[in-house]
Amino acid sequence: MSDNSHNPPAQDAETYARPTDDEILQYERKIKEPHTLAPLVGEKTGFESLQAEYADGSPTTQAKIALLAEEYSGLRCTRRDGNCFYRGLAYRLCELVSERKDTLWAKAVMQRLGPHSREAVGRAGYDLDLMGDFAECWEDAVRDGDREGAAADSVVCWLRIVTAAILKNNRDMFEAFILDSYPTLDLFIGSQVEPMNIEADQPHIVAIANALGVTIKIGNLDTTLNTDGVMNWHEIEPLEPLVIPDSAPKAEDQPQVVLLYRPGHYDILYPI
C-alpha cells in the first residue's frame, strides 16, 4: 500500500475531488505565511505603526490610540497565530520577574508558576511525566530571565495545560460561563483550551490569572463597546491573590500584565 501515497487515477470523482490533508495544510500555510514569518514576539515600539494601521479607521479607535500613546510608553506585538495571549503573558511575566528579581513578589510568583501550577495540573488528572518537560522550560525561562525561552511553544503549551487544569479543578464555577455554548466543560477544554493556535477568551484569562496570582489588565480597541473614545479596560484579578509577607518593603510594587486587545489578537502594553 506504500505506493498509494500519491493521487490515484480519478476512478471516482466524488472521492478524489476532496483535497488531501496535505493540500489543506499547504493551503493553510500559504494563507498564514505573512503571520508565520513575523517574530513570535517583536521589538518594543511606539504607537506610530498602530496609528498608521488605523489611519482610515473609526474616530473612536483613533481617539483610543491617542489616549494609549499618552499613558503607555509602547507596545510589543506578538505573532498572530492564535497563541498570542499565552505568549504575550509569558513573555511579559518573565520580564517583570527578572526586573524585580529577589523581591518577595517575584518569589511569590515563582511559587505560583512552579510547584503550585504543577500541583494543579496533577490534580486535574494530567500526566506530569508527560507534561513535566513543558513546565521545566517555563520555570527555567522565568528563573533565568530568558524572554526568548518564555515565548517558546513549549511554554504556550504548558500555560494551556495549566489553564485547562484550573478550569477542571473549579468545574462548578466555570461551567456557568461555558455550558451556554458547549455541552460539557471537558469538550470545551478539548477544543478551545488544549489545542495550540486557538485563541483565549474570558474563561481562559480568568483561569490563568487565578493560577499565576497576577492581575491581567486588558485594553479593548474594539469600537462596539464604547463610542466616546475612552479606552475600556478590563482588569482580571486572581481570586486567590499572591501571599506576600507583611515584611515586604512598602516600595515593592505588584505589577500587572497589561495587554492590548483587538478582535482575535493580543499584544503587550508597557506602562510609562
Binding site: M1, S5, P8, R18, D102, L130, E148, E194, P195
Partner: protein, 167 residues
C-alpha cells in the same frame, strides 16, 4: 542569582537542535510508557533507528465487524511534535466510513482537536474505538457510512478489503 557564562542564549541553529532533542525525548518517553503498560490490542514501535516514523498495529475490537482482524498503521511525527499531530495512515486496506482508499483517516484528535496531551497510546486507543463507533456524519467513504446499519453486508466488505490475517 548567579549567571553561567557557558549557558549563553542558544543561537537559532542550536535551538532547532534542542527542539529535535526534545521531540526525541518525548517519543522515547512515550515508547517506554507504551511498552510498560501493555495495552491489549495495540502496539507500536519505531521503524529501525528512525524515531520519527513508527509502525503500529491495532486489533479490531471484539463484538464489532472488525473482530479478529489486525491493521497496520504508519505514524509519521513532524519535528514540531507534540505541538502538531503526527500523520497517521492505515497501511492495511480497511473498509471504514472514516478512512479513505489511501488509508487517510478522519478523526478530530488528529486534526483540529490535536493537542500535546495526546500520545501514541491515546491515538491508537481512539482509533480502536473509532473502528466500532464510526462518525457517520463526516464520512471519507460514503458507501461505507451508508452500509453501517447492515452489519452482515458490512462484515463482507471488511473481509474483502482485508488482505488476510497473517501479518
Amino acid at each position: 542569582m548567579t549567571t553561567n557564562p557557558a549557558a549563553g542564549k542558544p543561537s537559532n541553529q542550536t535551538k532547532s537542535a534542542t527542539e529535535t532533542a526534545s521531540v526525541a525525548k518525548r517519543l522515547q518517553n512515550e515508547l517506554m510508557t507504551l511498552m510498560m503498560s501493555g495495552t491489549p490490542g495495540i502496539s507500536a514501535f519505531p521503524d529501525g533507528d528512525d524515531l520519527m516514523n513508527w509502525t503500529a498495529t491495532i486489533s479490531g475490537p471484539e463484538g464489532t465487524v472488525y473482530e479478529n482482524l489486525k491493521y497496520k498503521l504508519a505514524m509519521k511525527f513532524p519535528t514540531s511534535y507534540p505541538y502538531n499531530a503526527p500523520t497517521v495512515t492505515f497501511k492495511t486496506p480497511i473498509y471504514h466510513p472514516n478512512v479513505d482508499m489511501n488509508g487517510n483517516i478522519c478523526l478530530d484528535i488528529l486534526k483540529d482537536k490535536w493537542s500535546a496531551v495526546y500520545t501514541v497510546q491515546t491515538i491508537l486507543v481512539s482509533l480502536q474505538s473509532l473502528l466500532g463507533e464510526p462518525n457517520n456524519n463526516s464520512p471519507l467513504n460514503d458507501e461505507a457510512a451508508e452500509m453501517w446499519g447492515n452489519p452482515e453486508q458490512f462484515r463482507k466488505q471488511v473481509l474483502a478489503a482485508h488482505p488476510g490475517n497473517d501479518e
